[in-house]
Symmetry: C2
Subunit: 246 residues, 2 copies
């Protein structure tokens, strides 16, 4: 399994992905699920992928090699699209192309064609945007009302985001909340695993994003896990007892 | 959807169920998912059900009317079984009987035969036990290592239990943690809804359990929700910032 979360904040983007992929419990590997397509000064686009690794790798290849726009007939890549909306359309079209190539054969072998992609970024002179692209190639966009998107094993890590993330959350709090959300997922689902990849993009800093790989030994993450667990245990004790006469 | 959680603690049982059932978003009703089968002084047995309402109601009827043991040929009810293990077997056999009666017709109509049942309680002179019965009629039991079981929409409410519940947790803290787990689920999934039913059973108190229906106006639950949200928001702010130079 996979867990990826993207926060769409007024100050920019926080994107966090685990790196665990598996084909059964005896075949577990790490592959980067977070990829950055950046031309300093012009564009910063990043993707995170969940679902079939074969499908998502094929899609990632296609958007770099070029996908033909079914309407205009022109070939575009993630480095040439003129907007984030067109980038989301490009990824969606790449998903459909992979489906046309592999979908039927995968079905015949009982494999579901299953992929979800988060796509965030900014082009020069335009606003930051964050999209989620589905297996059908269609997509939705994060808004101020729903300032985060999740793919993969998303339920364990959702309550903390529902409670604490708003679009006004600053990038540093966003990093902390994304890490807490990931930690909740890591504890409750063994098939999501460290290390994880973190991207932080401050709005209008088109020279590039900040990236960090967080391993099991990462001192900050270890401290955050510990502090969070202690805070949770303490928090429920601080709540008064019910007066129900039980 | 449904969310039910049972805590298996050294001091006894905490069982909490929402009451929302639906057959599509325009057809939402409340039915008790928590049922108590109690003979004061002799036995306290309680069930919570998730999945198809038709199936779970049929099972609840059968265990009261009587189910024939396929090995001994004798008919037993939830009021006559001599142990909690035999109670779990009875429920499992009832599930299989409902499957034999309705399973094929349900399949023909594209309905999945889907039911999960938590069964907790104690018989005079014996220990408290908590079981989870599956759609196939087989079952597992909670142990000191895994002192809680969940059915239905379980993922949102699992992280808090993973972090805070041990078998040494007392009943009052158990009530708080079950309510927090339910609150996380209510916030993240609209198809789980209030009111909810709470059962607290103190070990060896065979005169009966304590029961409470918790509605939207319940002052304690409103206070707990508010205090918990504030504590969560405060907790992440208290964690130091990462020193990553972002």
């Amino acid at each position: 399994m996979t867990y990826c979360v993207g926060l769409f904040l007024d100050d920019g983007l926080v994107m966090l992905a685990d790196t665990r992929t598996n084909a059964g419990v005896d075949n577990i590997s790490s592959f980067a699920k977070l990829q950055v397509f950046s031309t300093p000064g012009d564009r910063m686009i990043a993707t995170m992928t969940a679902g079939s690794l074969a499908v998502s790798q094929a899609v990632m290849n296609l958007i770099q090699e070029g996908v033909q726009d079914p309407e205009t007939g022109e070939t575009a890549t993630i480095y040439t699209v003129p907007s984030m909306f067109r980038a989301a359309s490009l990824v969606g079209e790449a998903v459909r192309q992979v489906y046309r190539t592999h979908g039927k054969a995968m079905q015949e072998h009982g494999l579901s064609f299953d992929v979800s992609i988060l796509l965030g970024g900014q082009l020069h002179g335009r606003t930051v945007r964050l999209f989620q692209i589905y297996s059908a190639g269609n997509f939705i966009e994060a808004t101020g009302d729903t300032p985060f998107l999740q793919i993969g094993e998303h339920k364990y890590g959702k309550p903390i985001l529902d409670r604490a993330v708003t679009s006004e959350t600053n990038l540093i709090d966003g990093i902390k909340l994304a890490l807490i959300s990931m930690d909740s997922t890591l504890r409750s689902n063994l098939s999501v695993g460290l290390p994880m990849d973190l991207l932080v993009y401050r709005k209008d800093h088109l020279e590039g994003p900040s990236l960090r790989r967080i391993t099991e030994d990462d001192e900050y993450f270890l401290m955050l896990r510990k502090r969070w667990s202690e805070a949770i245990s303490e928090a429920h004790r601080q709540i008064p007892q019910p007066d129900w006469g039980f």
